[in-house]
Homo-oligomer: 227 residues x 2
């Protein structure tokens, strides 16, 4: 990527402990539900959460995965419009929404975080609207590779080793995140293994990518910059 032009740089390593309350959560614990008053926002430090919406007939869509460094609990109105549960046990810092106004530093960080989330949601819209089942699954696995950003991926390297992934979601949760059914996710993963893109461990949640770059290409994560 080229040099950034001068943009406001947020205080990156601001020790956030100054303003929030530290708390921890267990696996599958619910942090909030649709309809609950949205009085605070949650900055995840360790572990992960997911946010989803339910239709009255039972259909479910996971709308966000929240990982360390992410903030969630934003709401348009006074109440949450979705549910939030823990995928893996962890900790977060809770900030009172009211206190945002009085803390320019927190405001700054929130803006930066919201930019990132909007961008991620745009990406997910492309996945849900225009990608095949295989591309969706590959795309999710790529998302879980630590320290991977498509832009820093050199085009030329055909093989870039293996990568072990920790996949904390069940097949059903993956399906609800990717807009597929549980069965399709299952078949797609099996197919990826048969085609040598990944290996599925016998312990749940273990996936090894055979070649990160090959899988990345399959995911068609790229977006066209031409027009």
């Amino acid at each position: 990527m080229l040099q950034p032009i001068a943009l406001p740089k947020p205080p990156r390593s601001a020790p956030p402990a100054a303003a929030g309350k530290n708390r921890s959560f267990n696996k599958r614990e619910s942090l909030f539900r649709a309809g609950d008053p949205a009085t605070q926002i949650y900055e995840v430090v360790k572990g992960s959460l997911f946010i989803y919406k339910l239709l009255s007939d039972g259909r479910r869509q996971v709308v966000e995965l929240v990982r360390p460094g992410d903030i969630c609990g934003f709401a348009d109105g006074p109440e949450h419009d979705s549910d939030c549960e823990a995928l893996e046990a962890g900790t977060f810092i809770a900030h009172e929404r009211i206190s945002i106004q009085s803390s320019p530093a927190l405001q700054q960080r929130l803006l930066r975080q919201l930019d990132r989330r909007v961008s991620a949601l745009h990406h997910q819209a492309v996945t849900l609207g225009r990608r095949t089942a295989t591309e969706r699954v590959a795309s999710l696995i790529m998302q879980l590779v630590s320290n991977h950003s498509p832009s820093q991926c050199p085009i030329a390297d055909a093989v870039k080793g293996e990568a072990a992934i920790h996949m904390p979601m069940t097949r059903g949760e993956i399906a609800d995140y990717l807009g597929l059914t549980l069965e399709t996710v299952c078949r797609t993963l099996t197919d990826l293994e048969r085609r040598n893109y990944i290996r599925i461990g016998q312990k749940r949640g273990e996936i090894t990518i055979t070649s990160v770059c090959r899988l990345c290409r399959l995911a068609k994560t790229d977006v066209c910059m031409n027009g």
Copy 2:
């Protein structure tokens, strides 16, 4: 495509605080493209825009509709990651991104706006991931009814009159927004007309909803608040 490093900017008379520069745009005009430096944000006053992403194989996904009162042009990094075009001619106020830092009032408004957009993107994720073609199309039409909010819709009123909609998008654009094909959108609209939910005018862009509430119910816009 990309600008070189930040050139010294010619001095420009500082605009009145909290107010950016007013500009107008024509139908189909491009406001920015993926890869352009993201130096300002756009507050739409009149008309409408849409933001989309292209995959290298030509697939397209419209990720946002931007209407009066909305702000767009946020970016995670220094460059835009999507394209923005005008759906209808209009005007906007351009704010320099750098000036955000120094204006708490603007910052406040941005936070509010971003909350709204995240919420809208969550809603759209449900539409793309879990709704049928009919529900998607109905949902979009409902979105275009002015002054409609599902929460203020009394349950009991079976018929709540007609509503004329101005639909500025082509069938192809609707399709790219809803994750469908042009043909499916066409068939679905025809079907909605046959089932007496809407009437399609002979002039393009004219749609009349026969009964707002009936269509709203069809869209299954509701989200379950139980568990």
